[in-house]
């Protein structure tokens, strides 16, 4: 429920100034880690092998998270690096001595980190305690996935926990919050991607004070606080090590005071490298060189999300009984919100005119074989797959993931060639009839099923897709009572299309649990279900 406008205006009128207190934190060990990783990311980006590009993307996502989320400094950081890159000798043989040297530096720094507390976490804890002692109402702006790291900075025996209402995760959350005293934000002010926040933090403050905690070198975007009525001017903000500045804002007479507090030192710059270089800016420039489209993420369960290009209209269901059009096409973050359901027909891409009835028919065959083989001889299965050409990093955890039963998607290898190898090794071979009764290799039908579950089954063109959606809209509108009943459970669900509707098949209802802007995604990864861990690489 949005806040009354008069409440916001009264609050703004009462505020002579709004304060920003920016804490910049330096650390020698963490500085060494981030510089080494940054160099590896940038160097591997120039490589022409897919393997190197994948590693570069994953490292970039990892470092971006560490820079913008108050993660604990523990052994998992070292473990993650080792899992990603493997043995140092292997790194040298694949990418040369320079990368190995950087990797070793990163490993050393990561090994040293667990001996100290992440100073960002310490700063958050102190800030929360101080504001609470002053009786101030405070809120934290962070991504939904970062929340547990904020909750864990507090000492359970000393500090009351942060309540649900203390967190703001989206523009919508911010839009609907009543004015409060202090907003805590970790990371630079950026409009998109890692550490993103609404421009409205600066153009429409609902707080008296913004307490920003950042790693040294992480700069706010110069145009953050964009208002289409007032075009951007030179960046505002503080300069100097500890400074307090007043700036009459360009944004409708809101006056800001900025105070900068620096703590900790980063003394270990690499030779020839600037002591403080903004990784997030470097990564953004790197990504922008590649051809990608801006996209909005719609999270559909704890592990999966779908990315939509701007202004997409998606078939959806609003469970709110007051909704006039419960079934409609909606635009993510504008008319499609959390708590609503995406509706995905399981469309057969071989034969237009039908919608497949079962979700995961072929997967039952190969997944049961995979589970059997895994239980009988896991090491042997891995060896056979590697010999056959499925040479993925972390094959062991990948196989366990593929064994999971179908949910939002059918868990399977991302690439067709890997899937073919998997089914060949499992000896799931032979043919089966397709929709036109033509014999087709079983692995191809199973692969189509995987692709369909990811939403990749749009072979028959936009016009036919629209016809199907139009027919579905009419069918779905008649099914509203049934859909409402199923939605009462709160989670996702399947619904078979009633016989005699002109279409046979199955519909997946995926509950929207989060919507986020700020992604740049390859065309082929739009509108398909992807794992969240994979999606992170496309954050700006």
């Amino acid at each position: 429920m949005p806040v009354a406008a008069s409440q916001v205006f009264d609050f703004i009128e009462q505020q002579a100034t709004v304060a920003i207190e920016r804490h910049e934190i330096g650390s020698t060990a963490f500085g060494a880690l981030r510089r080494s990783l940054r160099k590896i990311v940038v160097t591997l980006r120039d490589s022409d092998t897919q393997d190197a590009l994948d590693i570069s993307d994953r490292l970039r996502a990892l470092l971006s998270e560490w820079l913008t989320v108050p993660v604990p400094f523990d052994s998992s950081m070292l473990d993650t690096l080792r899992e990603l890159l493997g043995a140092t000798e292997g790194v040298q043989s694949r990418w040369g001595l320079d990368i190995r040297t950087l990797y070793e530096l990163a490993l050393c720094a990561a090994a040293e980190l667990p001996s100290i507390e992440n100073p960002v976490r310490e700063a958050i804890r102190l800030a929360i305690r101080e504001q609470r002692s002053l009786g101030q109402t405070l809120k934290v702006y962070c991504s939904r996935r970062a929340r547990l790291h904020f909750e864990s900075v507090l000492v359970p025996t000393e500090d009351p926990p942060l309540l649900e209402i203390a967190f703001l995760h989206s523009v919508r959350d911010y839009r609907e919050t009543a004015p409060f005293d202090v907003l805590i934000k970790v990371g630079p002010l950026r409009a998109r991607g890692w550490s993103s926040a609404p421009d409205a933090l600066l153009t429409a403050p609902r707080f008296r004070k913004l307490l920003q905690i950042v790693w040294s070198g992480c700069s706010d975007e110069p145009d953050f606080g964009y208002d289409p009525v007032s075009p951007p001017t030179d960046s505002q903000g503080a300069s100097g090590s500890t400074a307090a500045t007043n700036s009459g804002s360009r944004r409708g007479q809101i006056i800001w005071t900025t105070r900068l507090v620096r703590s900790g030192q980063d003394t270990g710059a690499l030779p020839g490298d600037a002591a403080e270089l903004d990784e997030l800016r470097v990564f953004r420039e790197m990504i922008q060189q590649r051809e990608k489209r801006t996209a909005t993420l719609v999270q559909v369960d704890e592990e999966h999300a779908i990315l939509y290009p701007p202004h997409s209209l998606v078939l959806s269901f609003d469970p709110d009984p007051a909704s006039r059009e419960p079934i409609d096409r909606r635009m993510p973050s504008e008319t499609l919100f959390e708590g609503m359901y995406l509706i995905r027909p399981l469309v057969d891409d071989v034969d237009f005119g039908g919608v497949r009835a079962e979700h995961g028919h072929y997967s039952q065959i190969w997944k049961s074989k995979l589970k059997l083989e895994w239980r009988a001889n896991a090491a042997g299965l891995i060896a056979r797959l590697r010999t056959a050409g499925l040479n993925l990093q972390h094959l062991s955890s990948a196989i366990q993931h593929w064994c999971k039963p179908p949910s939002t998607v059918i868990h399977a290898p991302q690439q067709m060639k890997h899937f073919e190898v998997l089914l060949r090794v499992l000896e799931v071979d032979g043919d089966a009839p397709n929709n036109r009764n033509q014999k087709t290799p079983l692995w191809k039908l199973a692969w189509n099923e995987v692709r369909r579950s990811r939403g990749e089954a749009i072979q028959f063109g936009v016009q036919e897709q629209e016809i199907v959606e139009e027919q579905l809209l009419n069918i779905l509108r008649k099914l509203v009572p049934q859909i409402r009943e199923r939605a009462m459970t709160g989670g996702g669900f399947h619904l078979a299309i009633p016989p005699g509707s002109g279409i046979t098949g199955d519909l997946l209802f995926l509950r929207v649990s989060g919507i986020e802007e700020g992604f740049r995604v390859p065309e082929t990864d739009l509108k398909v279900v992807r794992e969240l861990s994979m999606v992170d690489q496309w954050r700006d």
């Binding site: 406008a5 429409a204 809101i254 008319t335």
Partner: protein, 380 residues
């Protein structure tokens, strides 16, 4: 709370600020069922922005973007101000153009819609150039239950409309069913007929007319032409929210005024046709930004107030609005992509438009956190 108490309301938790004591509005205000309070400065500013917007359709086209710090009924408040402005303009009514409007309607019905082969009206698919179906049905104001249909005898070439009542409702003296009766209304008496599901152009008497009181209490210095209180007007358009008519009406209902004559919600005083059964006439047309349809035919509104970024961008791109002044009202608590789409649009317009400092100078100073940019076309 009575009006006499309105500046002494500390007991209600609200302390009037400096701006409120200068307000002249004789009304109290409530939003989202909160307590009554003096009309806030931001509300007064928005209504006055609409009220002072230049009424002339002859001057250069203007496009404004108003940016708010939160979601609100700002667009509808601007529309209310503009509506009060139009109540004072003796030319702001649909009577003079009504016969032409009926002829256009008859022409659309006879030449296009009557023989259309689509099962459901879809102007985009048909590419007929119309925005909605003409059913050919009209209502007769002196006897509103009576339905007339545009007759095939209509002489489009000479501008003579023929209307007929359906056959078979009454019997002749001989006991036979009467055949259809054809009427040939002339331009003078055509205001007795109006298109079905649209407001009448004019009420025959003051019964059902708008009450002047609320509007005069909103803008105390407003001049109101009494004839306009019983006449419809299609020159002012509210382009609703992206969520559709329901979402727009919802926000209007959440804003209420208390005048000496009673309480009114914003949805009551805006007189949008389907929103109020009490008042048959309508002084504001509604454009549904979701379905991209008007609530009635309009040749070209002179001023459009668009609620939200999506609505504003649609209006700027819509062929129906190419000559209209446009005031887009947005709030800034949206994603960057949406803000940039607006910023780019305003930047693009600057090829042909220049900042209108003249109008800005005539308006009251904006409250803190409201941004306003007005562009004026360089050549009319």
């Amino acid at each position: 709370m009575t009006r006499g108490q309105r500046f002494n309301n500390r007991a209600f938790g609200h302390v009037p600020n400096d701006f409120e004591v200068f307000l002249q509005m004789n009304a109290l205000f409530s939003e989202r069922n909160q307590e009554w309070r003096p009309v806030p400065f931001w509300v007064d500013f928005l209504i006055r922005l609409g009220y002072r917007w230049p009424a002339s359709t002859m001057g250069p086209r203007r496009i404004a973007l108003l940016s708010m710090p939160c979601d609100s009924a700002a667009a509808e408040l601007v529309a209310l101000g503009a509506m009060i402005r139009d109540l004072g303009n003796s030319n702001a009514n649909d009577v003079p153009g009504h016969y032409d409007a009926l002829m256009r309607y008859a022409s659309q019905y006879l030449e296009h819609c009557r023989g259309c082969d689509l099962p459901e009206c879809d102007p985009a698919a048909k590419r007929c150039g119309y925005v909605a179906k003409a059913t050919g049905r009209l209502r007769y104001s002196p006897s509103p239950r009576k339905v007339y249909t545009v007759s095939g005898s209509t002489d489009l070439a000479n501008g003579r409309i023929a209307l007929e009542t359906p056959a078979g409702r009454t019997r002749s003296r001989s006991g036979e069913m009467n055949g259809p009766v054809t009427s040939w209304p002339n331009a003078e008496h055509a205001t007795n007929w109006h298109i079905e599901n649209e407001p009448p152009p004019q009420l025959a008497s003051t019964e059902g007319a708008l009450s002047e009181g609320p509007y005069r209490q909103i803008i105390t210095e407003a001049e109101i032409h009494s004839n306009n209180l019983r006449r419809s007007y299609s020159g002012l358009c509210l382009a609703g929210r992206a969520g559709g008519e329901g979402a727009t009406r919802e926000i209007c209902k959440s804003v209420r005024f208390q005048f000496s004559g009673g309480e009114y919600s914003l949805s009551d005083v805006l007189t949008i046709h389907s929103w109020s059964m009490a008042v048959p006439i309508s002084r504001v047309i509604f454009y549904n930004a979701r379905t991209e349809k008007f609530d009635r035919y309009t040749p070209q509104p002179s001023l459009v107030i668009a609620d939200g970024d999506t609505s504003f961008l649609k209006v700027l791109g819509g062929s129906e609005f190419q000559r209209s002044d446009v005031i887009g009202v947005i709030h800034r608590v949206v994603e960057r992509d949406r803000l940039e789409a607006l910023g780019n649009q305003m930047l693009g317009l600057q090829q042909w438009y220049a900042e209108d400092t003249e109008i800005l100078g005539r308006l009251p100073a904006a409250p803190r956190a409201i941004g306003l940019s007005i562009l004026k076309r360089r050549t009319p």
